[in-house]
């Protein structure tokens, strides 16, 4: 079976990828990493964090690389001063939206948001910070959610729905008030659908969902992506 392919240019380099591939994946497979916080291979694209915005020549608009499919002859730019400015701004907005204090966070040094801020040289937040005081739900036997650290990437919700297949987690409300909830906005301990599979904690890019008493470097697991892909493509069936 042959797969039809598409030729495009990423940062001036011609690459060939299967039709329908998203720009983010096409770039990654050809050695160009585009920053993202909400995307995780194997889960559906969400396009929520806006960090993967790229330029496509011929359009003044910016496109989210995680949810824009490639097309023939496309010329994509993944790094520019303009993109960097926007990415820095996005990281600052994420940091300002809730109570993000790295020094007292379980995910300190293991956090994708923190690491991105460092890489981009975000040395301060120019926006007024919101100091949220949302409930920390530690009623579950070992899973904890601190919503003050949540960046609403929805990786946990997608992994719970698409891979574990139970859809315990979901979002309530909108904008800055949005919250990750369990079942019908109940405490975690009361959830009758949660299988305690820990996938939510594994994929959380920050310190919002974690396992009590377990170091975060132990929990966070990039291999989950491989596992997710294997499940999705049913690799074990040959």
């Amino acid at each position: 079976m042959s797969v039809s392919t598409v030729k495009l240019k990423i940062n001036g380099v011609e690459v060939t990828v299967p039709e329908g591939t998203m720009i983010l994946k096409a770039a990654k497979d050809n050695g160009t990493i585009i920053p993202t916080l909400c995307n995780l291979e194997g889960l559906t694209s969400y396009g929520g964090c806006r960090l993967c915005l790229v330029e496509i020549s011929g359009s003044p608009k910016l496109f989210p690389a995680c949810s824009t499919p490639v097309s023939a002859g496309m010329e994509v730019t993944t790094e520019s001063d303009r993109l960097k400015e926007y990415r820095k701004m996005t990281v600052q907005l994420l940091l300002s939206e809730r109570t993000h204090i790295c020094s007292v966070c379980v995910a300190n040094d293991q956090c994708e948001l923190q690491s991105l801020a460092n890489q981009l040289g975000v040395d301060h937040v120019m926006f007024e910070r919101q100091w949220t005081n949302d409930e920390i739900d530690s009623t579950h036997d070992f899973l904890v959610i601190d919503r003050n650290r949540c960046i609403l990437c929805t990786r946990c919700i997608r992994v719970c729905d698409e891979i574990e297949g139970v859809h315990t987690l979901d979002l309530k409300l909108r904008g800055k008030d949005a919250q990750v909830i369990m079942d019908l906005d109940d405490h975690w301990v009361n959830s009758c659908s949660c299988t305690s599979c820990r996938k939510c904690a594994k994929v959380c890019p920050v310190g919002a969902i974690y396992i009590e008493g377990e170091p975060v470097f132990h929990t966070k697991n990039k291999d989950i992506a491989e596992f997710i892909l294997a499940r999705r493509n049913r690799k074990w069936r040959q």
């Binding site: 790295c102 020094s103 923190q114 460092n118 890489q119 981009l120 949220t132």
Partner: protein
Amino acid sequence: METVEKTKLATIWLSGCSGCHMSFLDQDELLIDLAKKVQLVYSPIVDVKIFPENVDVTLVEGAVANEEQLSLLKQARAQTKILVSLGDCAVTGNVTALRNAWSDSDQAVLEKAYVETSDEKALIPMAVPKLLKKVHSLHEVVKVDYFIPGCPPSAALINYVLTELLAGRTPNMEGRSKYG
């Protein structure tokens, strides 16, 4: 002997744990080189009580949590050419600013510390500077020229920034600094 005009350096300790100053001192033998280039005119580690005029570089550790700190910071800003936020408390508010998540936190923290958890006679101290309603990072109240995040920032990073500033260059924090 010919004397070279030294750069006037000041350091201030506001609401922080002094960890950033410890990190500053952790520059170890590099401090000897630094001492050849700068004159420390005001700092918790020198015995000067009043913030001097015409300071070249001021490093400020800690967030702004009370009225005295606010006035000292404003004075420092007015009398300094280059003001640097040193460490996460100065840059983000850090642990000090966690009280911002509660309204009326200025009263609440005093109640907690001096009444609720008091072993002996509960008494809120009155003869100390008044707490501000909210804890502020430095750039919320004055203009800040450079930022050195970190809890604490490493000695190497502090040394890098000072070296660049003393040489008249702009430090580049990309990939160098780290929150937390």
